[in-house]
Symmetry: C2
Amino acid sequence: MSAAVAATEPSSPRRPPPSALARSARSEALAALDRIGKEISLGRDEALFLEGDAAQYCFKVVAGAVRSCRLLSDGRRHVAEFFLRGDFIGLAAEPAYPFTAEAVTDVTLLRFPRIAIDKMISLRPSLGKWQVELLCRDLSSAQQQMLLLGRKNAIERIASFLLLMADRGHDAEHVSLPMTRSDIADHLGLTTETVSRIFGQLRSQRVIELRGASHVLVSDIDALEELAQAA
Amino acid sequence: MSAAVAATEPSSPRRPPPSALARSARSEALAALDRIGKEISLGRDEALFLEGDAAQYCFKVVAGAVRSCRLLSDGRRHVAEFFLRGDFIGLAAEPAYPFTAEAVTDVTLLRFPRIAIDKMISLRPSLGKWQVELLCRDLSSAQQQMLLLGRKNAIERIASFLLLMADRGHDAEHVSLPMTRSDIADHLGLTTETVSRIFGQLRSQRVIELRGASHVLVSDIDALEELAQAA
DNA sequence: CGCCGCATTGAAATTAGTCAATACTCGTGG
DNA sequence: CCACGAGTATTGACTAATTTCAATGCGGCG
């Protein structure tokens, strides 16, 4: 459905590709993919697509952030993923999108017709493998998130989330949180009030500092990892 | 990683294949796949593999049930999925299993070397599509489960779970629960006590009847759907 | 027939949620 | 440049849901 890791950085430190040859075939294929994308922009809170829409396109985040969410009939919401620069959205081969995707901030995207993607995948085996790898990574992180939602308490959830965001940003010290407290709450299965309180608690324990609501400075990453019960 | 729907029943009512031709190519390929599987048996609570093991094999459940789980360092556990007859385990293309898989009951499995599977996939495009579809389905149901874990209360979780199990069994009226209360609790992010209490509550509301701990009779499926907040 | 493990039930404790009020912040317009 | 205002975020007091701890019950297997 999406990539948790930037696709324009083919060699993640976590999962090096099997060989230099495969690596170059892949990055060439990904570059070719980029070339068929059309750049589009959306304002904050605008929808890329709604749950149930025919899945005509997939997207890659160029700048800004996107959230995917599902709703219950009475309005309760869960935010499954946040997509940052380089992440793919809607890569899964389903006839209808299984979730709604909305802009968290003003956002710039590359938009790809799914038909063209499927065609490229069927022509280039390296792209097919790339798709399967992204799906596997997403599945594994979804299961990690289930562990968090099912078994971690509020502090552990926030600490885990901050570590994840720290990992994804350029600077592990300065974590930027483009989403609102409410987005974070709906991602972690908490309320905005609880998110706020835990941030306050972490601040008073000198684990983090808050430089405005959307900028966290991690003062003590070891303490944070301790608190996260690193699985 | 796994199939939520039996692979030997190629035409699920939910997701019919695009064409009769593709359908027969796929079922032929799946039959060929079955032929390279070796039948093995495990006793209750024996592990198929542990989280972090090299992912040499994948498995298909012939009889019995399997659970996949992840642990926190202090022993808290989450059961990500239950695998029943026909489901595939470990189909994701990852170098190491990202979770532990254990027999819920005595179980019979087909075991496939991953190398052989990858080879078949690269030779037969229909198998590759099948793999991608299973991954997408798993990902989507993982996200559904995140919604459950993050936003549903205990009654809604149990009701949703019973409906899911009813759907997977042969008879929607008679639901068999081969796993213990503790397995169910760890799957739904609850405790065994809460699971028991909710079963009791549903029984006193005449929504279900309990015929022994592992056999539930659904007396009022409409009420159950109501309670599940069907997403 | 009697265990042993699992399931159920009860009472107390705890965590996170709810409701309500106040404080920021950032963007806008005077 | 500063003041204002809307939308967020934070904080507090209270409530409710689920967990925890502790017994008791039940059922299947030896």
